[in-house]
Amino acid sequence: MRIKEGFTLRSIVGQYVVIGEGISQVNFNKMITLNDSAAYLWQSVEGKEFSVEDLTRLLTDKYEVSDEKAAADAAALAGKWIEAGIVEE
């Protein structure tokens, strides 16, 4: 999967949000808030093709978390991003 074109991660006084800014997202009126670990994952995979396994590895690399927990979190987050329309499979 990959992040759809035209979405930008920004920070409003410490709160990360994804905003649709590209021409292809001109009618996207939603804003998605991300917590710090989701923002770290977003920054790590921006502009790249990635899988749930990639997200899992990024989580276990940076945080003290079990493989099982990281895999579950990564899958849940990827599902959420796809559902929100900011990531395509």
């Binding site: 035209g6 930008t8 920004r10 409003i12 006084v13 709160q15 949000v17 905003i19 649709g20 800014e21 590209g22 021409i23 001109v26 009618n27 009126n29 804003m31 808030t33």
Partner: protein, 290 residues
Amino acid sequence: MLLKRTYKVAGHVFSLSLEGEDRAWEALGNYDPFVIDETEELFSLEVVPEFDIQGKKELYVSEPEPGEQRIDIHTIEGGYLFEMAPLPDLPVCGWLKVSSDFSKGWLKTASNKVFCVNNALMLMYAFRTAGLDTLEIHASCTVCQGKGFLFLGKSGTGKSTHSRLWLKNIDGAWLLNDDNPVIRVVDGIPRVYGTPWSGKTPCYINDDYPVGAVVRINRAPHDQIHRMSLVEGFASLYSSSSGLRALKPIADGLFDTVSSVVQKVPCYLLDCLPDDEAAIVCSKEVLGNA
């Protein structure tokens, strides 16, 4: 002969050039309160009979919305071309060619010249000033107790109606602008300015006030107001600010200015009916916190 007039809106200077004998000048009285005698301008618009364009490529074609004007955007060599029509099913009647930094514009029209001039100046203003702590907001703005209160909402939700209800029910409230006021952050303080662009209401006031609150209007079966979080306030104001977000400098400018405004000004969501009670509920909350 071309006649050039210079205007200042929210401290930004721009000029309009049009044939001196053109009858359109008479219908552009909305700019009269903003005339000044300065030569240093941020951008200029010239109405011309014809211009050349090269390398036209589609950048953005708007989704037609019933009753709304339509603006399509193309990239061309050295800048952009905007094509405008007053309604989605009417033919294009105005072509605005602008330099890539939005400092120079040329407009040709087939009909509706006044509509085209107003639109062209609003577009150039929003795009040219986006990096200058300035936001052109789709809102109605009422002044009360020395502060400006902006009412936002999608077309048809009752922004203007809510301003009317303040004027009728709240002592000392008056209308600054009914469609497109400008917010500018000056010395860290967000201020709201009247402009020559006020929708269907002829209200062209050259004056400015500190922003008291930003209120999003939402039609509901009851009258209730609640304060938004910082991020909700950001989303509310950002979605009502004009600008071509596909251009990074503009997106960056809008982001910075909206962030700065919502950190200093309370933002609310007002669920309301178009009734007197709505203005009373709203004013009670926002005047107390402004």
